[in-house]
């Protein structure tokens, strides 16, 4: 269910589609990658219309979908060779390219093992390698690091950056603000099939603040007071917490605490956290604001 989702990926840049589950990110990717037909609207990928000339689109793109798309009964090398052969490379060049990619993605040691025995991170890397057998003009990455441990995530990011330096454009979907921040030049926020905001990643960061100060309050009265006195990013009546944008400095934290203490409210606990996707929605959209309150975001 997409509703007026307009977006433009600049050649050689990374655009991140950021949104919660069910926002329509995957649907959008599947339409652009010619896997599903849109009921209406128009999409042009690398100069070709996805509905009238899907084959030309497929020649220009590569897809790393949400589910790992490699054959678990084949070895890593066989998988890459298969993709290369399917793309029309002759046998010896397919083999050479497979070996090259396995080295590049740190999989040379497990090249001869069946993919079924790979770890999640290794599978993801092989999946990405399979998308890069021939250099695509546009690479789709659908939640590429969901379910990965932090180390594998950082490694995958480095590999994506290396591709961008080679001139590959990337359309990335993610639920993680940090991932968009790490990789993207432009961020598009998608919610329930609509683009709710878009702009350069730096602007987005500036609006949320670099940190979020989370205050654990002793009672309802105190929470109400905080809401009156401070520009809250959000409040949660269930857990009696309130959150304010912060630069993380001692000075600013002290100012917030003093403001509440002067009015008879002792903050029970103070935590500084990284801003999350919810905070971004909250700071950028009025619907997000209303919604976060009704949802009572955790």
């Amino acid at each position: 269910m997409l509703d007026r989702a307009d977006l433009l990926v600049e050649e050689g840049s990374v655009l991140a589609l950021l949104g919660p589950n069910g926002a329509g990110k995957t649907t959008l990717i599947r339409i652009l990658a010619t896997l599903v037909r849109a009921d209406c609207g128009r999409a042009v990928v690398a100069g070709h219309d996805v509905s009238t000339d899907p084959v030309a689109v497929r020649r220009a793109i590569s897809l790393t979908g949400q589910h790992v798309a490699v054959d678990d009964k084949l070895t890593g090398r066989e998988n890459l060779e298969m993709i290369a052969r399917l793309l029309g490379l002759p046998r010896h060049r397919a083999r050479g390219r497979a070996v090259e990619l396995l080295g590049l993605f740190g999989l040379a040691d497990v090249a001869g093992q069946q993919v079924g025995r790979y770890s999640g991170g290794m599978k993801r890397r092989l999946d990405l390698a399979a998308s890069l057998v021939t250099k695509p003009r546009l690479l789709f990455l659908d939640e590429p690091t969901t379910g990965l441990d932090p180390a594998s995530r950082v490694q995958l990011w480095a590999e994506v950056r290396a591709q961008v330096e080679e001139g590959v454009s990337v359309l990335l979907t993610t639920q993680y603000l940090e991932e968009a921040d790490q990789l993207a030049d432009t961020v598009v926020l998608l919610d329930r099939g609509r683009v709710v905001a878009s702009g350069p990643t730096a602007d987005l960061k500036a609006r949320t603040g670099s940190m979020v100060l989370r205050l654990q309050l002793p009672d309802e009265a105190c929470l109400t007071l905080a809401a009156q006195q401070l520009p809250l990013l959000r409040r949660d009546d269930g857990t009696l917490t309130a959150e304010v944008a912060s630069d993380g400095s001692g000075e600013q934290v002290r100012a917030v605490l003093e403001r509440l203490e002067e009015r008879g409210c002792q903050v029970a606990k103070v935590v500084l956290v990284e801003p999350s996707l919810d905070h971004v929605f909250f700071s950028l959209t009025s619907t997000g604001r209303a919604e976060a309150q009704t949802r009572g975001v955790a």
């Binding site: 896997l35 037909r37 589910h67 798309a69 009964k73």
Partner: protein, 258 residues
Amino acid sequence: MTETLGLSAAPVMVSRCLRRSLREPDAFFTALLLPIILLLLFVYVLGGDMRTNSYVDYVVPGLIVLCAGFGASTTAVAVATDMSNGIIDRFRSLPIRASLVLFGQVVASVMRNLIASALVLSVAFGIGWRPRFGIADWLGAAAMLVFFIVALSWLSAGIGLVARTPEAASSFAFLLMFLPYVSTAFVPARTMPWVLRGFAAHQPLTPVIETMRCLWMGHSSTGTNLAHNALAGSAYCAALLVLSLAGSSWLFGNRTGR
């Protein structure tokens, strides 16, 4: 460009599916062992009570068809597995004809079935099966068998597409395995109660089985001649093949397009 890529993709898909077949050792082993166990079971356990002392001569064509039923189940599961995995999205985002993945599965299916059939025939020969040895007889029987296996493999691919999960594909295909019991595979139709007799004498598997029986043993169990059986058997296989091919390609477009 599209066409050449489309054609070069076919052998790649076939080699992928053959590799997959070999990489599932337990499944492959069962698929080969099962026909042999069945052969021995039918000949020594069930055939012991039959007054013919050469039940093995009677039962070989039927057993081959029964084994093809097991093979069909393997194929349906393989196709359903491919369709429910991410790999299908990978194939479909490449500039190739993605439905060639079905072609690969069907070729692998035919190969598996032919190996299983060859194995049944050699074991049968080892325990006293004595068919005729005319080259024309064997070529004819082989042609009928290959035609049947190709048609059944496409039907299995279709079943794999209809089923949403590998488990469902397996249960669908399981139903196929009951059909040979109500044919002339194991006992002549005339020994059945009249309700089953008509069906058993005329259902699609019977002319296929009787064609092989005529060619190997020189006579059918129904009293019909070779020409009649070969014609009916081929017609059934052709119809099955056309329907399954059309159905599979429609289902493939339909299942993957949304």
